[in-house]
Amino acid sequence: MSTLAVRRRRSALRTLAFLSPWLIGFAVFFAYPLISTVYFSLMKYDGFNTPEFRGLDNWTYVFSDYPMFWPALRNTLWLVLVMVTCRVVFGLGVGLLVTRIKRGAGVFRTLFYLPYLAPPVAATLAFVFLLNPGTGPVNSVLDSVGLPTPGWFTDAAWSKPALTALAVWGVGDLMVIFMAALLDVPKEQYEAAELDGASAWQRFRYVTLPNISPIVLFAVVTGVIQTMQYYTQPLVAGKVASGVIGGSGQQFEPGYPDKSTLTLPQLVYNLGFQRFDYGAACVVALVLFALAMAFTALLMRRRGGLLGAGD
């Protein structure tokens, strides 16, 4: 073997050695689970017995015969579109507000950030209590001023807006990220815009937004992923509002009221861990995977990736 060939081989091995932590992580935490999920989606598997090949039966069942799939998909898409949008808009709005406040900004930052620290179960329980149509203070106030009193978590038309309100209440994480981005926008660009006679909206539209667009995209992409994994809050809200909290051997089916709080991750859990149907659960997991890929790819393509105005 020539010296050049030996050098090349050593170089390749060195490269592989440096890459190996990532390669191992990729293989163990990405490639293997993905391949397994595809494999089990074609099998009958209950977690105890040997998997049996089933072809596309699980796929047919989920798409044609499983009555919870389409409502869960619709709810998940609704939440991705509405909840993510609301969180980003409110996060940016609150970020703008606290960066402009001259006095007491620290207090406002703390007040807006604190809800984000509340554990999801506790926060959801608090919201269900506040929005209880029978005894909750929110409806009492609405009623006292003559406004309609929605059923919130007990009404299929209002349960997702109520969940959105809960998500917007905990927007402190986005507020901090947007604050950092807003404070990073070069001041001279605002000064130049002001000299050119730009209005407040024009300064926001043509100076602020282009500078923070990578952060907006980051907020949207992570928001979409988080919403695709949305599990705890709708489950707890549905469970508490329905009155079926278990304890006497009753099993709770998520989605109360009227399947309106069902999300795809709940189905993965319900099918895989409550019905012992790993195959169908894997089908739903793959649908989630495909959706997340599609959303992320679409956003990256449309917004030019993570490039800001200065890139």
Partner: protein
């Protein structure tokens, strides 16, 4: 980095968060351990209230005294989800003896092998279960001939009523038929604006224990036909029950009004339960309510009775719905013979069953314990003991996919009681098809 590569990397990173790893457990069977050797078992149970946990520990202490070579590590507050995950994962730190409140999951536990088949142990111990345990309890702890569990006390469902409210309304005795029940419920109802000062009975399927299966026990019915297909559209009992319940909902004020009132109720397991607070005058509930109601310090007298029956089934008055805690052995346990000693003791030893029943106010699950002079009974509790022994008392049959068929039927119940589903016959037919399809998928 080129934009495509960067974007692709971002997409892959984003997607990574969504992937779940596929874990596989192992189900081993075959007991080779020596039950007389020194060993430590792990017992998982679902009780969480301090008094219940104390009762379990006392029961285990009695077992350890009787079996000095076996120590038991007790882990409480385990629900079915935690149990399922542990049974799948296996491993040396998992449980040896497991229990569940969800009787309707026995079909899943037995058919999947999540719980060990107890037949070899029962035969080795020469236990005649038919002579030991009431038939409904034997039925709900096995599936299609595989006995993977035994009953660890039982639950019987009956009617609780507020004797003071009955007296005030001039009602002399608890109703025996559903027709009488509807009249009594209306008589006890005191409207107040668009709500209630007192509701006779909360009939909706979200009214805690007023679920479809508990109602259905009071009609002669069969969920499945001889071929194992759903029978709910064919058996007229189901249509009768749904029709009756819907009329009761309408007669007591309508679904929307009742739901709004239900939202003022306290937690089912807390002191503010609507029966305790006087918000409802009658309640369908299990025998455990008696102890809870007394602990809540009520300012009215409680009465108990069997639930009413269909008008043409008066001769069966006294029956009710039965379920209970089940106990079995984890397949990954390496100490299955020792585990069997614990299961056998908990489920068949009269002293253990009676003491545990006295402590947690559940129905004893053996004939000997039911007639034991040590069993503490008062007239209210006696009602539930009688229901448990009534020959027509039933439980929901087990299915390969556990409680899924009950949840599917319950879901239709929500649609029907709320008025979203109008055509009962078509709804039951569609629900039956769904139940069959779900079972087919699980086979």
């Amino acid at each position: 980095m080129p934009r495509f590569t960067r974007n692709a990397a971002c997409v892959l990173t984003a997607s990574l968060a969504l992937l779940a790893t596929a874990c596989t457990g192992s189900s081993e069977s075959g007991a080779t351990d020596d039950p007389n050797a020194e060993t430590t078992l792990t017992f998982w149970h679902g009780w969480s209230a301090p008094a219940e946990v104390k009762a379990v520990e006392e029961n285990i202490a009695r077992f350890e005294k009787a079996h000095p070579n076996i120590k038991v590590k007790v882990v409480g507050n385990i629900n079915d989800d935690k149990l399922n995950q542990a049974l799948r994962a296996g491993g040396s730190n998992g449980p040896d003896v497991v229990s569940s409140f969800t009787t309707s999951n026995v079909g899943k536990f037995c058919s999947s092998g999540a719980f060990v088949d107890l037949k070899p142990f029962i035969e080795k111990s020469k236990l005649d279960l038919d002579a030991l345990i009431p038939k409904p309890m034997l039925d709900y702890t096995q599936f299609e001939g595989t006995r993977c569990a035994l009953p660890l006390l039982g639950d019987a469902y009956g009617l609780y009523y507020n004797k003071d409210a009955f007296e005030e309304a001039g009602i002399k005795a608890p109703p025996k038929t559903w027709s009488e029940f509807a009249k009594v419920a209306k008589k006890l109802t005191k409207p107040k604006g668009d709500s209630y000062e007192q509701l006779g009975f909360m009939p909706t399927y979200h009214g805690y224990e007023t679920v479809v299966s508990h109602y259905m026990s009071q009609w002669d019915h069969a969920y499945f036909d001889a071929d194992g297909k759903s029978n709910i559209a064919e058996d007229p009992a189901f249509a009768e029950m749904f029709t009756y319940q819907k009329k009761l909902v309408d007669d007591l004020g309508g679904f929307a009004r009742l739901e709004k009132y239900r939202n003022t109720f306290g937690d089912e397991w807390g002191a503010e339960h609507p029966f305790h607070t006087g918000q409802v005058a009658m309640q369908l509930d299990g025998e455990w309510r008696l102890g809870m109601a007394k602990d809540a310090g009520l300012d009215f007298e409680i009465g108990t009775a069997p639930l009413p029956v269909a008008d043409d089934e008066v001769d069966e008055y006294g029956k009710g719905f039965l379920s209970g805690t089940i106990v079995g052995i984890a397949p990954a346990s390496k100490k299955q013979n020792a585990a069997w000693e614990l299961v056998k003791y908990l489920t068949t030893d009269t002293e253990s069953v009676v003491a545990f029943s006295n402590a947690i106010h559940n129905v004893p699950s053996t004939f000997e314990a039911l007639k034991s002079p040590d069993l503490k009974t008062d007239p209210e509790f006696r009602t539930f003991l009688d229901i448990a022994q009534h020959p027509e008392s039933t439980t929901a049959p087990n299915a390969v996919n556990g409680a899924t068929y009950q949840l599917t039927l319950q879901d239709f119940g929500y649609q029907y009681e709320s008025g979203k589903a109008k055509d009962l016959k078509a709804g039951l037919e569609k629900t039956a098809e769904q139940i069959d399809r779900d079972i087919e998928q699980a086979k």
